[in-house]
Symmetry: D2
Subunit: 356 residues, 4 copies
C-alpha cells in the first residue's frame, strides 16, 4: 500500500521522486485568512537545503518553492495549497550499480519485494529528498500555531553527545550542526570530516522542544499527541527511535523521581517542578514544553563495499557512490522541526473541532 | 478531540471507562471465514489480567470477553465484531482524593484542561484498563496473520536489564515478569517486592519480536510499518519511548557497523548477516524478524505524597491509594504484543489491497 | 470490505445483526459537557420502533437503549459513547428458507458473493434493524446542533403523493405515516392495508428539512454537505435515490427559473426569494433550510413467490415469510432524520475545526 | 473545513483554482506495474475539454496533462502519481462584477460565509474547472478496473428526454451531446442553441452504466457501493440528484414489480430477469450492470439580471458575463464517467483488501 497523507484536519499529501521533474505537497485543511507567500516557506527549505557546507551532501538543489493554489491576494483561502519544488541537480548515471543490486540498509530490497520493481534513481520515492516537501508543509503549519516556538537541535553525533549543562539555544544556528553546545560543535567538525573523507557515515540524536503549547491538545486514545509525534518522527528517513520527555531513561526511574510535581504559579496557573513527561500526560499536552528525542541511524550510503545480492538473487558487492550526507541527522533537524509543527497544527485544529 | 479508532483496513474502536459498567471494542474489516470463539480471545486477556500474583495490582477482574456480533456458526462474517468485557471489581470510593486534586504524571490535569472535567474514577477513560480491549482485538488480529509469531518480553525493570546472552524464549512464561532471563527474573522478585512494599513503582523496558513477517508489508511514506508501530506502542499508557531494531544505539554507530549485509540463502531467497534495522527498511518489512523496544515509565500511582494542585488551583498533596501495579510494564507486555499483531494485520491487508 | 464508521469528526461505528444478542453504536468525537441520558435517546428509538401499529412489522422489540460509556454525572465526557440495544424478539426459525435460497432484491446473493457465506437470520448485518443504532447516534447528534430543527415526513407512498399545498407540519405526528397531509394519510390507510393483506409491499418518498443551519457548513470538495447527505441517505436500507432541493426537477428547469434571488433582509442578513438549491451552494450551506428527498423502494420481502436460485445455483422459488413492513419508507423516516442530524453535527464540528 | 481527498484505498486529492497557474491531482494507492503515460489520460481530458463546439463554453484550454511522479519506465510504481494541468486561457477581468456581488446559485455567498472571503476569479476553487483533475484521475482508475466498461450519456436536456426505445450506444459519440438517441440529438441542437443565444441555461440528466463489475464489490454499511456513488456524483458541480437503478421510480412501484428475479444462467452463474436495483443490493454489486442517473441543474451563469446583494449586504443586480456552458450537464458526462471509475477502482481494492 501507498499512503502519502498525514494528519486528520490539517492534512498534507506529498508526492515526487528524487530524480523526477519535481516534488511537491498538497496541504489541505489550512485555516483561511493566513498571510502566506513563498517567502514564508523558503527560509525553512534553505535551512534543510543540501550543499551548504562540507558536512552535508554536495548535491546542489535550489529548492525553490512555488505556490500553485490556495492563496489569493496574499492570504490562504481555506482551499488546498499546492506547493511544488523542481528537481534541478540530478545525476541519474550515479545509480547504475543501484539498479542491479540492493544497497543493504536502504529501501531497495523492500520496495522490490513490495511493488515488484522500483525507481532506483537516487532511491526514488524512498529518497530523503521527499523531506523537502514536509519542510515546506511545516512552514505553513507554523502559521497555524503562532503561539508555539519550535527548536530542533542535534544532541549527539556518532555517540559523541553534547554536555546538557552547556546547552545554549543561541548557539544552534552558529555552527553547521544545529549544535547547542559550542564545544561539541568544534569536536564534531573533526568527527564528521573524518567520516566524510573515509566515505563512512555517522548516526545522530536530534532533540526538539516546542514551547507555548497550551494544555489540552491531544486526541486520546489513538491520536494521542505523543503517538502522533512518534508516527511523525518515525516516518522520517533513517529514524529508528523516538522518545517523549525522558523516554527510555524513565524506564530506569522510580515513581517518586519521575513525578512532575505541581504547584500554583501564583497567577492562577500551574508551575511544574520538572518535565520528565515531556509535556504530555495521557496523550494530552500539559502546558509544559513538549519535548522529544529522535535517533537517526548512520546512512547506509558508504564507500566501503558491502555484501549484498542482485535482483536475480546472486551474491554481489555494492559501493554506494554519489554525493551523500555523512550524517543525515544534521539535515534531519529541520525535518524534525517540521514534523513537530505539522502534528501540533493538526492537534490544535482537532482540539478546537471537539472542544470549541 | 477524541479519536478511538486505530487502523486503516483492519480497524478497531475501543470504548469504556475503568469504573463504567463495561468496556469493549468493535473490530471492523476483519476478513470473513476465520474460526473465532471467545476461547480464542480469553487466553490473551487472562495473560494481561490483574491480580494473578503479588507483582501486579490486586484489583480482581474476571475479564471475561463476550462476542456480540460478527460471528456466525463459529466463523467471522466479515462484518463488525463487537466484544464486551464487564467491569466487576470497582471500588470508586478509592478515588475521593483524586476527584479533588490532580495526580502528577497522570492524565488528570490534562483531561480537565481539555474537556473541562473528567471521570476521575480510576482514571476513567485514561485508565490502563482500556488495554484489555486492545488485547481482545489483538487476539483477532493474530488470526489474520497466522504466518506470524509474536513474542513479547520484559528486558529491564527499574534499570536492571537482562543479559542478552542468557535470552531464553522458553523462560518467558515461567516467571511472573515475562522475563527471558531466569536469573534476572529471580533478581526482579526482590526488586518489585521492595517497590510494592514501599508503595513505590518501577519503570520497565519491553521488547517484542515478530517472526514470519514476509518482505513487503508497510505503507510508505505516512503509514510506514515502523511509523505505525511507533504510534501503536506510544499510544499505550505509560509508554515514553519506542525503538525499532537497534534504535538509539544505531545513532552511535557507523554506517559500516550498522549495515545488514545480504547473502543468497541458497534457496532462492536472502540471508541477512545482521538485523540492526529491526526488519524494516524504508518503512517496509524485509522478511527479517520485526523487532521493537518500548519504554514504560514507572506508574505515578505511589504512596509517597507528591505536591500538586487541586481543581481550584490551590496547593495540595496527594497520595495515590488504591490497588496499583508496582511496575506497569509487566502487564504491558501482552499489550505490546497485541499492538504488534494489530499493526501487522492491518499492514498485511493494506499490502494486499494495493499489491494483490 | 466492511466499513461501519461514518463521519469525520463526529464519528459513529455501528455493529450487530438482526438476530444476534444485541446491536449497538460507538459515538466518538462528541463534544464534552452535553447533558445526556438514556431518556434523551429513547424517544427517537420509540418513533422508529416496530410493532406500533398495523402498518409496520409486527416484530416487537423494546429497543431499550443503554449507555455504557462516555457519560459521567449526566454529561458527555468527550470520550467514546457506547450505546447498546438488546435484541429480544427474534424468530430465527422464520429463516429456514432464506438459508437455502436467495431473496431477490435482498442482500443475500451479494453478501454470499462477497464474503463466501452470510448470517441469513433476518438478513444478519444487512437487516434494517441496524438503523436503530443510527437513530440512537442521531439523538446524540441533535444535542450537538441545538440551533437546528429537523423534520422528516413521507411525501408519497406507492406513487400516491401528498398535495404540497396541504403541507401541515403539525399533522406529521398525528397519523401512523409521518404524513404532513391529513387527506393523504387517510388514503394511505387503505393503500398500505391492502398491500399488507396481499403480502405485497410499497415504495415511498421521504422528505426532510433542517432549519436553523447557518451559512458556512460544508467541506468542499469531497465532503460537501450535499455529498455527505447523499452518502448518508443512500446508505439506508432500501434507498435508491436522493435529491437536494429541487433535485431532478431542476434538471428540467432554466437558469432563470432555478435562480434563488437574494435580497437584504433589512436586518443585516439576506432573504432568499426561493430555495431551489435546498439550502446548499457549492457544497456549503447558505443559511436557508437544508432540504432533501429520499426514495425508498418497496421491500423485497413479499408473499408472492419469486423466481430465484439456491446456494448451489439451482432454480428455486422463494416466498419471504416472517413479519415484514409493507412499506419500509414509513419507519425509514426517523432514520432519514437521524442521518440528517449526524451529517450536520459532523459538518458543524468540521467547520469550526478549520474556520474557528 | 476543506476536504479535497476522495477514496479509501485508491485515493485522489485535487487542488487548484480556475484562474491560478494550474490545477492538479495526486493519485495515491494505485497498484504498481500498470502501463501509464500521458496518452492514456489525455483523451479523457479532451472529451471534457471546453470550446470544442458551439454548445459548450468558448473558453479555450489545451488541458494538457503532465505526469510529475509515480511512473518509472512507463509503469506505475505504486507511489503517488502527481498530475498537473496548466491554466492557459484566463480572463480575470471578466470577474470584476463577481468580486463585488454574489451570483445567486453559485458558491459565492456560501464561500464568503464560510471562509470570510473568496477567490472570485471564475469561481476560484468552486469552479467546474476542477473536474478536469477528476477526469485525469479517472483515467488512471480505469486502468485499475480493466474488466469494467463505463458508458455515460445524456438522457434529457431542459426536460426533453430521449426515447429509451431508441437508445443506441453507438450514437453517443456521434453528436456533441453524448446523446444515445439520434433524434433527440437533433432536437437538442435547436434547444441548446436557443438557450445559448438567449444567455440562458438548461439542466440535464446524465445516465451512466458500468458493465463487467463482478458480484461482491461494496463495503457495507457506510461505504456501500451505492452510497459511495451517491457521494461521488453529488460532489460534482451543479448536481442536485442521484438515482441508483430505478431510483425514484422504484418508490412508486410494488414489491412484485420491483423484484429482479433470478435464474440459473446455465453456465454455473445467475441470470437476472430485470435490473431495477441498478446492479447493487445491500450496498454490494450483484454482477449486473451498475447504473445510475444524475441530475444537473441549469448553470446559474446567465445573462438575465438577477437580484442579489453585494458583500456589504446592499441590494444589487448581477449579470453573469463571461464564457459559460449553456448546459453544464453535457460536459458533465465525462466527469460522471470518471467518478464511476474512481469509485469502482476504490471498491475493487477495498474488496480485495478484506476478502482476498
Amino acid at each position: 500500500m501507498s499512503w502519502n497523507t498525514f494528519g486528520r484536519i490539517f492534512r498534507f499529501t506529498t508526492w515526487g521522486e528524487s530524480h523526477g521533474p519535481a516534488l511537491g505537497v498538497v496541504v489541505d485543511g489550512c485555516p483561511p485568512g493566513l498571510a502566506l507567500a513563498e517567502a514564508d516557506i523558503q527560509p525553512f527549505l534553505d535551512a534543510r537545503k543540501p550543499g551548504q557546507n562540507r558536512y552535508t551532501t554536495q548535491r546542489r538543489e535550489a529548492d525553490e518553492v512555488q505556490i500553485l493554489s490556495g492563496v489569493f491576494e496574499g492570504k490562504t483561502t481555506g482551499t488546498p495549497i499546492s506547493l511544488m519544488i523542481a528537481n534541478t541537480d540530478q545525476r541519474s548515471k550515479d545509480y547504475a550499480d543501484v539498479a542491479k543490486a540492493y544497497r543493504p540498509g536502504h529501501a531497495d530490497y523492500a520496495y522490490d519485494a513490495k511493488y515488484g520493481f522500483r525507481d532506483y534513481r537516487g532511491g526514488g520515492r524512498s529518497s530523503a529528498r521527499e523531506t523537502a516537501a514536509r519542510v515546506a508543509a511545516g512552514a505553513i503549519a507554523r502559521l497555524v500555531i503562532p503561539e508555539v516556538a519550535i527548536t530542533g537541535y542535534v544532541e549527539a553525533i556518532g555517540g559523541d553527545a553534547i554536555d546538557p549543562a552547556r546547552f545554549d539555544a543561541g548557539a544552534i544556528r552558529n555552527n553547521p550542526f544545529w549544535c547547542p553546545d559550542a564545544d561539541a560543535a568544534v569536536r564534531w567538525e573533526a568527527l564528521v570530516d573524518a567520516a566524510r573523507k573515509a566515505g563512512s557515515s555517522l548516526g545522530a540524536v536530534v532533540g526538539c522542544r516546542a514551547t507555548g503549547v497550551p494544555a489540552g491538545w491531544g486526541a486520546p486514545l489513538y491520536a494521542k499527541l505523543d503517538a502522533e509525534l512518534a508516527a511523525a518522527m518515525m516516518s522520517i528517513n533513517a529514524v529508528k527511535g523516538v522518545e517523549i520527555g525522558d523516554g527510555f531513561a524513565a524506564a530506569a526511574n522510580s515513581g517518586e523521581d519521575n513525578a512532575d510535581a505541581m504547584r500554583p504559579d501564583g497567577a492562577g496557573g500551574v508551575r511544574f517542578a520538572a518535565n520528565h513527561a515531556g509535556g504530555i500526560a495521557g496523550g494530552i499536552s500539559t502546558g509544559q514544553p513538549v519535548t522529544c528525542r529522535v535517533a537517526f541511524k548512520p546512512t547506509s550510503s558508504i564507500l566501503t563495499p558491502v555484501e549484498t545480492i542482485d535482483r536475480e538473487g546472486n551474491a554481489a558487492e555494492i559501493v554506494t557512490k554519489g554525493r551523500h550526507d555523512p550524517c543525515v541527522g544534521i539535515r534531519g533537524t529541520p525535518v524534525v522541526e517540521a514534523m513537530m509543527a505539522l502534528v501540533l497544527a493538526d492537534q490544535k485544529l482537532l482540539h478546537h473541532a471537539q472542544c470549541g
